[in-house]
């Protein structure tokens, strides 16, 4: 019960931060997996960022090659992201990360075969929140 409240509070904080600082829309807190409607290990936040948060390096290369859309307009449409709220004082394990990924649906993008991806939000005591992309498997880094 304490764990549930803790997770809920983290999710609320992250949702507020995404909404007011990062202009995300369609935000909601999910407590149950959409695939098998089992209870998540902790509540997760899903939402739509104002612009594309992540472009796979293969897509980056494809964009560079195709001169037709030099600005990459096609890939500027945002995708729904799943955010896992955590606190800096927590200890996670590979097993817990694996459980989180296993309870998530496959990637909704045009490439369902690519490894799943979540946004890892880590909250500090001073209410700073940092966001990291966590991939389920070996995904080469982006060219930036």
């Amino acid at each position: 019960m304490v764990e549930r409240d803790h997770g809920r509070q983290l999710a609320d904080t992250v949702l507020d931060n995404l909404k007011y600082q990062h202009d995300w829309t369609e935000l909601q807190i999910l407590t149950h997996s959409p695939t098998n409607s089992e209870l998540f290990m902790r509540p997760m936040v899903s939402g739509l960022p104002p612009r594309r948060l992540y472009v796979h390096p293969d897509d980056q290369i494809a964009m560079l090659k195709s001169s037709a859309n030099p600005d990459g307009k096609i890939l500027d449409t945002p995708e729904v992201e799943w955010v896992l709220p955590t606190h800096i004082s927590e200890k996670w394990t590979l097993k817990k990360f694996a459980a989180v990924f296993d309870s998530l649906p496959a990637q909704l993008s045009a490439h369902p075969d690519r490894p799943k991806r979540i946004v890892l939000a880590t909250i500090h005591g001073d209410s700073t929140i940092v966001y990291y992309l966590l991939h389920d498997g070996l995904v080469k880094p982006r060219q930036n």
């Binding site: 990062h22 695939t35 960022p49 948060l53 992540y54 955590t86 606190h87 800096i88 004082s89 927590e90 200890k91 996670w92 394990t93 590979l94 097993k95 990360f97 694996a98 990924f101 296993d102 309870s103 946004v119 890892l120 880590t122 940092v130 966001y131 990291y132 992309l133 966590l134 991939h135 389920d136 498997g137 070996l138 995904v139 080469k140 880094p141 982006r142 060219q143 930036n144």
Partner: protein, 337 residues
């Protein structure tokens, strides 16, 4: 040796010396780098310049993980050099002992002949040059530079025309040795002990010494199976720098850190690693061997990983096939917000 296909090539001999896994044969080093993604680190100083430590030479020191992965892929065997050499040397009878010494002597002689030959060739070239020079300026016949160039060569002289020109210099005509068959030969110290190895019964996998592998071995083996090249990770504060190809051609993609399946990971480590990795254009890779809960069956969401497990079961007999236990990996990148 390098031209042999991988099937007929005998097992690479990894020498275990004082807990280190060393390769002394450059053929083996090249073979492993080309075919088995093993780069590792040269640790030998160069005899001509032993004070510097930027350019190291043989031997190559393998990480224990690399030695183990090669043993498991049936590519190499690890031999404890101290015991092996004592056993092997004691096993020599007088005849083969003499044959071995004789072969060393022969090699030394061949080496010295080759050196003399190349000296002769150099001298001929030099003489040709100096003659040309003399045609241009006959006046400075007794130029000290020419004298010294002629004197410091102590090898046999092919033709003494140039000495005639130097009649003022007190050169004693040296005995011209056309083909120096009578050389006593250099005393060679072989850099590998391949002459000592038994020719017919190659050391097999069963004679392999144990490898003290670190806990991070499953992650290493998993990445190695996938064709990545690993280098020690000190530079980026991780267990392995993971390269998508030969490090001479590619930047590394990941800074890999191993964790146990139930080992606690502090969030600060993830944030710090992810941030560092992103700032050097890498992903921060965490991973470790999966420990199955005995009561949980494989679900559909896990198919990718159970596939790799089947491959392990089917192909572990094959040379160079995958050997890693089921491993799960995660990559972390800064989200840029």
């Amino acid at each position: 040796m390098a031209s042999l296909s991988s099937d007929e090539r005998p097992l690479v001999r990894v020498s275990k010396v004082a807990g280190r896994y060393l390769l002394f044969d450059i053929e083996d080093v090249m073979y492993l780098r080309r075919n088995y993604n093993i780069c590792s680190v040269f640790v030998g100083t160069i005899p001509q310049n032993p004070q510097q430590n930027l350019f190291m030479g043989l031997p190559l020191e393998l990480m224990p993980e690399e030695a183990q992965v090669l043993v498991e892929k049936k590519v190499a065997c690890v031999i404890d050099d101290a015991t092996f050499h004592l056993n092997r040397l004691a096993a020599f009878d007088e005849l083969s002992r003499r044959a071995y010494v004789q072969s060393l002597n022969n090699q030394g002689k061949q080496m010295q002949m080759a050196v003399i030959e190349s000296q002769n060739r150099n001298k001929l070239n030099q003489q040709g040059k100096s003659k040309k020079k003399k045609k241009m300026s006959k006046t400075d016949l007794e130029e000290p530079k020419d004298m010294s160039s002629n004197n410091d060569v102590n090898g046999p002289i092919e033709a003494d025309e140039s000495n005639i020109l130097f009649d003022s210099t007190p050169t004693t005509p040296k005995p011209t040795v056309k083909l120096p068959v009578e050389v006593e030969g250099y005393l060679l110290t072989p850099t590998t002990s391949s002459f000592l190895l038994p020719s017919s019964p190659r050391p097999g996998l069963d004679s392999s010494a144990t490898v003290d592998i670190p806990a991070s071995y499953p992650l290493f083996a998993h990445l190695h199976d996938k064709g990545y090249y690993m280098m020690p990770g000190l530079r980026f504060g991780c267990d392995y720098n993971v390269y998508p190809g030969d490090p001479l051609r590619f930047h590394s993609h990941f800074a890999g850190v191993h964790f146990g399946w139930d080992e606690e990971i502090t969030m600060m480590d993830l944030v710090g690693g992810g941030r560092l990795g992103t700032s050097v254009k890498k992903g921060y890779l965490i991973g470790g061997a999966v420990v199955e809960d005995p009561d949980i069956k494989d679900t559909d969401t896990d198919t990718g990983h159970s596939n790799s497990r089947d491959q392990v079961n089917n192909q572990s007999r094959l040379k160079g096939g995958p050997v890693a236990p089921p491993v799960r990996t995660f990559c972390l990148e800064w989200a840029g917000m």
